[in-house]
């Protein structure tokens, strides 16, 4: 009985989505105006902030040294995160590597969900701007496992409405518009989202990371929110970063 109601609700929700081109969809010219705004992205200030913060830990050079790569190879290496790091026996995002670097340097690590960490993450990922995402989900069993867990997290229907990430972000709903916004196709290969997070979110007037965005989406779709940096969350990032493999990194992004 209960399941019946859940299914009915999600069908109703899908029915309320309209196709692009209908009355409240924005025109291409309007969208172009918003795209132009990335020229002066308020998050550029946070990225500059992140650079300053990293400066206290040795800057790019210190980071490269900690990650065990040369400064020249740093951008390409960053473009491959999340990665399996043997030292921690975990698949981790760059933010977790920054935390580890702080701890190993004798500092109290910043929280993953703190604003300063978002700025640091945005700066560090922006080092890889212009590089193509080169995550390798077949590099080792741990990455394979993370990818599988990420896919499972993406596909699992849960919460009050029985929705999964895939319910709104699968190829089936591409081109559909939810309250003026075309739903981004995150499930298909070639989805570019991962290349443009961290990003400035105009709705929140602040810098948000990809995992933070997942949380917002989960909250609004009535799914229990998964903590940033948890195994599932990193796995979800692995899964979606793989979908964006080959896309050129351009940080910070600018989102509605």
């Amino acid at each position: 009985m209960k399941t019946g109601i859940k299914i009915a609700l999600s069908v109703a929700m899908l029915a309320s989505l309209s196709f692009g081109g209908e009355q409240f969809a924005m025109s291409d010219a309007d969208r172009a105006m918003y795209a132009e705004m990335s020229e002066n992205n308020p998050a550029d200030i946070m990225v500059a902030d992140g650079e300053e913060l990293l400066g206290y830990m040795g800057g790019d050079e210190g980071l490269a040294k900690y990650l065990g790569v040369s400064e020249d190879d740093l951008p390409t290496y960053i473009a491959g995160f999340p990665r399996y790091i043997k030292k921690f026996d975990m698949v981790v995002g760059i933010d977790q590597m920054i935390q580890a670097m702080m701890a190993d340097g004798g500092h109290k690590p910043l929280k993953l969900k703190s604003g300063n960490m978002f700025s640091l993450l945005a700066y560090v990922k922006s080092i890889a701007n212009g590089e193509k995402i080169n995550i390798d989900v077949n590099a080792n069993p741990q990455m394979k496992e993370a990818y599988a867990l990420g896919e499972k997290t993406f596909m699992t229907k849960r919460g009050g409405r029985g929705l999964s990430c895939n319910s709104c972000h699968s190829p089936d709903v591409v081109g559909r518009v939810l309250r003026t916004q075309p739903l981004p196709d995150l499930g298909a290969n070639g989805a570019k989202a991962a290349a443009t997070w961290p990003a400035y979110r105009m709705t929140k007037s602040s810098l948000r990371t990809m995992q933070r965005r997942f949380q917002g989406c989960m909250k609004n779709a009535l799914l229990k929110v998964i903590p940033i940096g948890s195994k599932e969350m990193v796995a979800l990032e692995v899964y979606l970063t793989d979908k964006a493999k080959g896309s050129e990194i351009s940080i910070p992004g600018l989102k509605r």
């Binding site: 025109s27 309007d30 969208r31 206290y56 939810l178 916004q181 779709a221 509605r256």
Partner: protein, 156 residues
């Protein structure tokens, strides 16, 4: 470096640029101070001194027909002007039609700008007109206006 010092550093580093001596502003500069209430017509009169601005295609107002987000609406005003000392755009004013204060910004230009353009982002409380009023160096006022639909977009 101790933990505490690291955070001290984080703290001070971010505070450096904040304080500078107060500058004196030119006379006749009426700076807005408190929460303001002004309707569109009053605002327009205050700018033009009662003159009727002329609709002109020399003024290009670029703003979306449908705003993705009422909190961030890009607005760019470009005016076709040689920007020479004898013929330049003195000011570009941006007004909204329905916010509780119709005035958004007054931009006073000089020939040193080279080109007459101003671009910013404004908040719109709902669907309304956005208007650019331009004052030329010969005292004439030009105007351009466009309606912007504000919707609640997407999730979250």
């Amino acid at each position: 470096m101790q933990r505490r010092d690291f955070f001290k550093k984080l703290g001070t580093a971010t505070a450096i640029a904040a304080v500078v001596p107060t500058m004196s502003f030119a006379a006749g500069d009426s700076k807005p101070t408190g929460p303001n209430k002004m309707d569109y017509q009053t605002a327009l009169n205050a700018i033009t001194g009662g003159k009727t601005p002329v609709k002109s295609d020399k003024v290009k107002l670029k703003t979306p027909e449908i705003a993705e987000n009422g909190a961030v609406v890009p607005v760019t005003v470009t005016v076709d002007s040689p920007m020479t000392p004898s013929n330049y755009v003195k000011a570009i004013h941006i007004l909204n039609g329905k916010n509780s204060n119709a005035r958004c910004i007054d931009v006073f230009l000089t020939p040193a700008n080279g080109k007459a353009m101003f671009s910013t982002r404004i908040k719109l409380g709902g669907t309304q007109n956005v208007t650019a009023v331009v004052e030329l160096s010969d005292g004439t006022f030009l105007i351009a206006s466009q309606s912007v639909k504000v919707t609640i977009g997407g999730c979250g």
